[in-house]
């Protein structure tokens, strides 16, 4: 299933107001590394359903959000819990790395 996409408003609401433990992947269509990483997340989402949120931001569409974090490249996966940033993973990552980070975030 494709990941739920966030825009400026829903980012505020879901990440900060709801404070859900979750990750947000910043990606773009023209990036083949993203095309590999996003499916990894899509599969994991299934496994973590109800325990951990998975979201996506398309940086071409959400330029303000992208600019806010001053990233230098995609994909970038950032992790949040209780509205606090918990760290990130950049570039090509395997599902194990994501799962490790998820379990650290949930701890």
């Amino acid at each position: 299933m494709p990941l739920h996409q966030l825009d400026d408003d829903s980012f505020e609401e879901i990440i900060y107001d709801n404070g859900e433990a979750c990750l947000v992947v910043f990606s773009r269509k023209s990036c083949h590394v993203c095309q590999e990483v996003v499916p990894v997340l899509e599969e994991l989402e299934y496994k973590y359903h109800g325990k951990f949120g998975f979201y996506r931001v398309d940086i071409e569409e959400q330029k303000t959000l992208f600019q806010r974090f001053s990233f230098k490249g995609v994909p970038q996966i950032i992790f949040f819990k209780n509205g606090e940033y918990q760290g990130k993973l950049s570039g090509k990552v395997e599902d194990e790395q994501v799962e490790e980070k998820i379990s650290n975030t949930l701890d």
Partner: protein, 405 residues
């Protein structure tokens, strides 16, 4: 059996997809296991101008066509990564990261290669914060900035030139003496004429500097040994590819020091029923077209091989006679004489036995299955079950006794 196939292909790049198309068309039950996006390395190539039939095509588009073709002939796909293999049985078994086990009569290895990491300080820490491996993905983040490209092969130079569309300046760090690049001549010439491109010769990158973002690189001149710092906001590494074959290290498969798999014309490896194709194998040219060619050859070879083992199985299992498996090797003249003698005995004396010759030079798996160490050797089977090892003697009378007592 659900997880049992005729043909398993590890890797869904052009080599794997071509093999699958041939396999599918030969009505083999075929599965591609591929960990990333189907299409492999080609997905990272913006433009392909040397694949026959296409004047110019984007890598991902070409691979979409390959994939469609494979799907069309009934190939199955599994998105997973193979992490270990067992080639010791006639039926080969693969285990995936997600814990799945699948087996097949033949396996084609088409895992391609992955970018080499230099493992220098800062490379990992600053990944995504200025350290990049993909120009198409990230070049435009460096608009108006200074970028360093490490390497001087085709990829480094071509990607470097693409980056100049965005960056203020691209500095290429080259190991060799002034004027020497590893890439093709045409690219080198264009690079030298590109005013935004600069070269630093005889040098390597020792460290990527920066706290949160890349701020520079530490260079080392390998001739003089002196170090210097070059300010930049981005570093792209194109320092070559390494074959993705490390998971095969302990499988008994022959792999050379660099990680490539030696094969013969039929793409056969040292293990029967296992083939290696595309960028994985020892070869002269690593391109899409040659990868595709490899895939075709391997699939056809596999098809024959499968046919053979099926024939063998049919013969052994369906035979109402006992089967005499006769192991020989053309280089051991004794084994040939012995074979001739046995055939003579069987044709003279009885119709209780059917003889099947097994060439140990090619059918290693069978030899292994029946624990054959020395040849000549012969095994007696009944309904596929082994009933005895035949004691070897060059004395015809004694052999008759062994066979019929």
């Amino acid at each position: 059996m659900e997880n049992c196939y005729d043909l398993l292909i590890i890797g869904g790049g052009p080599a794997g997809l071509s093999a699958a198309i041939y396999g599918g068309r030969a009505k083999l039950k075929t599965l591609i296991i591929n960990k990333g996006a189907v299409g492999g390395l080609v997905n990272a190539t913006r433009e392909i101008v040397n694949y026959p039939g296409y004047l110019k095509v984007s890598g991902p588009d070409l691979m979409k066509d390959f994939k469609k073709h494979a799907e069309n002939v009934g190939v199955e796909f599994l998105k997973d990564e193979v992490i270990s293999v067992d080639y010791n049985q006639v039926l080969k078994t693969l285990t995936t990261r997600k814990g799945k086990q699948v087996s097949a009569k033949a396996v084609i290895i088409a895992c391609g290669s992955e970018p080499r990491l230099l493992n220098i300080p800062g490379e990992k820490r600053l990944r995504g914060m200025g350290v990049a491996y993909c120009a198409t993905c990230d070049a435009d983040f460096f608009e108006g900035e200074d970028v360093v490209v490490v390497g001087s092969g085709d990829q480094a130079i071509e990607e470097g030139m693409y980056i100049t569309k965005f960056a203020r300046k691209v500095t290429v760090i080259v190991l060799h003496d002034e004027g020497v690049l590893d890439c093709n001549k045409a690219s080198a010439e264009r690079a030298f004429n590109n005013k935004k491109m600069e070269f630093i010769w005889n040098s390597t990158v020792e460290e990527v500097l920066g706290e949160e973002n890349v701020e520079g690189v530490k260079l080392k001149n390998i001739k003089t040994g002196s170090s210097s710092i070059l300010d930049c906001q981005g570093v792209f590494f194109f320092v070559g590819m390494i074959p993705s074959t490390s998971f095969l290290r302990d499988s008994g498969l022959e792999i050379d020091q660099k990680g490539y798999i030696p094969v013969n014309d039929l793409m056969e490896t040292n293990i029967e029923g296992v083939y290696a194709v595309g960028d994985n194998r020892v070869k002269y040219l690593r391109q899409v077209v040659s990868a595709a060619g490899d895939g075709a050859a391997a699939a056809v070879a596999a098809e024959r091989y499968i046919e053979e083992i099926e024939n063998f199985n049919a013969k052994v299992l369906k035979s109402d006679k006992k089967v005499l498996l006769l192991f020989f090797n053309a280089s051991v003249s004794e084994s040939l004489q012995y074979g001739a003698m046995l055939e003579e005995i069987v044709s003279e004396c009885s119709d209780r036995y059917e003889i099947i010759r097994v060439d140990t030079a090619t059918k290693k798996t069978l030899a292994k299955k029946y624990h054959i160490k020395d040849i000549p050797a012969a095994v007696v089977l009944d309904k596929g079950e082994k009933i005895k090892d035949l004691e070897i003697s060059m004395d015809k009378e004694k052999m008759k006794f062994n066979l019929f007592s």
